[in-house]
Symmetry: C2
Subunit: 228 residues, 2 copies
């Protein structure tokens, strides 16, 4: 059965490719059925079915019980969907007055719109951005990503100064916490003091001293520091 050999994928197939792409960066081995199921909030049996179909389409390699690995082609398709997702997120924030904690669900829908011209024009309208509102890099049209070196704020030492580049956790709750504390991408952050007992950090952001827990510091990705 070799019908439908055109490079068209359903929204569901695209979501699987994207999920597997993201999970691949977390492990050396193949991505497990269970991990995919958890990420997509579905059942392992559904994943097995879909994974077989995607293997038939040559976008991933599947071996029973051994998890899956994307092919070059599969990686490219996934990256292009991620490109669309992140460009739409920038659009929503820059042009439509969305907050960074409101964009994800809409971008999940918009990323599946099929139009050769649409996303290129959005890209141009936005001035060819390189990162999305959460600081995540935007792949180019070929699916290549340039990764900026980032470290967790929790890895810094006292008196080090840096810039907030991205958030590790993009959940609505965490983003809204940052809104409340007026912490935003691009802010300069200086580590004033680290409390040895619970690893909470006293930082200076926007000329204001602020105490953040270690959990927060673990989820803020900053430019590799240079002591001043």
């Amino acid at each position: 059965m070799l019908y439908n050999q055109c490079d068209m994928f359903t929204s569901s197939e695209e979501n699987y490719l994207k999920a597997i792409y993201h999970l691949s960066s977390l492990t050396e081995k193949g991505v497990s059925t269970n991990a995919i199921a958890k990420k997509l909030d579905t059942k392992a049996s559904s994943v097995t079915d879909m994974v077989k179909k995607l293997a038939d389409k040559n976008v991933l390699i599947y071996q029973k019980y051994q998890g899956v690995n994307l092919t070059i082609e599969g990686k490219k398709i996934a990256a292009v969907i991620i490109r669309k997702h992140r460009l739409w997120e920038v659009f929503l924030v820059e042009k439509l007055n969305f907050n960074w904690d409101e964009v994800h669900d809409v971008a999940e829908q918009l990323e599946h719109i099929k139009s050769p011209k649409l996303i290129d024009e959005i890209d141009a309208l936005l001035g060819f951005p390189t990162v999305d509102p959460h600081g995540d890099p935007i792949p180019n049209k070929e699916g290549d990503i340039t990764i900026r070196k980032k470290v967790k704020l929790s890895a810094l030492k006292e008196n080090e100064e840096t810039v907030l580049l991205a958030v590790k956790d993009s959940s609505d709750n965490f983003l809204r916490y940052l809104n409340k504390k007026k912490i935003a991408i691009g802010n300069t952050i200086k580590v004033i003091n680290i409390e040895p007992f619970d690893n909470s950090v006293l930082v200076q952001i926007n000329d204001i001293e602020l105490l953040i827990t270690n959990e927060v510091a673990e989820n803020l990705l900053v430019k590799e520091s240079h002591t001043i």
Copy 2:
């Protein structure tokens, strides 16, 4: 079976509602199964199935062999989808450099995006437009449409002057014909001469005299004329 009583419709259901809405304006009686099938490029049997489902959801009235009629609720839902379609078309033309003959297929996809905030912000970004790139009116949030009085150019008499408000036929071929002849919405059109033999019309548009066939004149909708 009363599950899923929330006002959420699938893309397919939305397409049926939209098709029926458009077909309703062409007939006094109920919209026939065959007409819907033709419009949506599907089979009559598929229409019967879907129409039963939509009747269960109270968005239309269905009586075997008698065609369907939208309920108030159904009309509103259809109008809101048409609103989204037309706002996206304006967006594509005004903000993303699309030509008016390139927007329809993308708008067919974008109209199904679910987001309370998205379409309102697009509306605001565009300055609350009242017509789409083809001159068709944009319903408001409640689904109300203000219809401008329009007449076919072919109904005008010699020496009458008017303004092009909309096109009746929005097919790519017709729109590209208009592009080629530099005829655009808003242009002033004066009827110079009507040839009795074939009803072809010599018009003046943009200070240029141009001969158009009756078929073209039938598809150009203009402001009701006043002899000058």
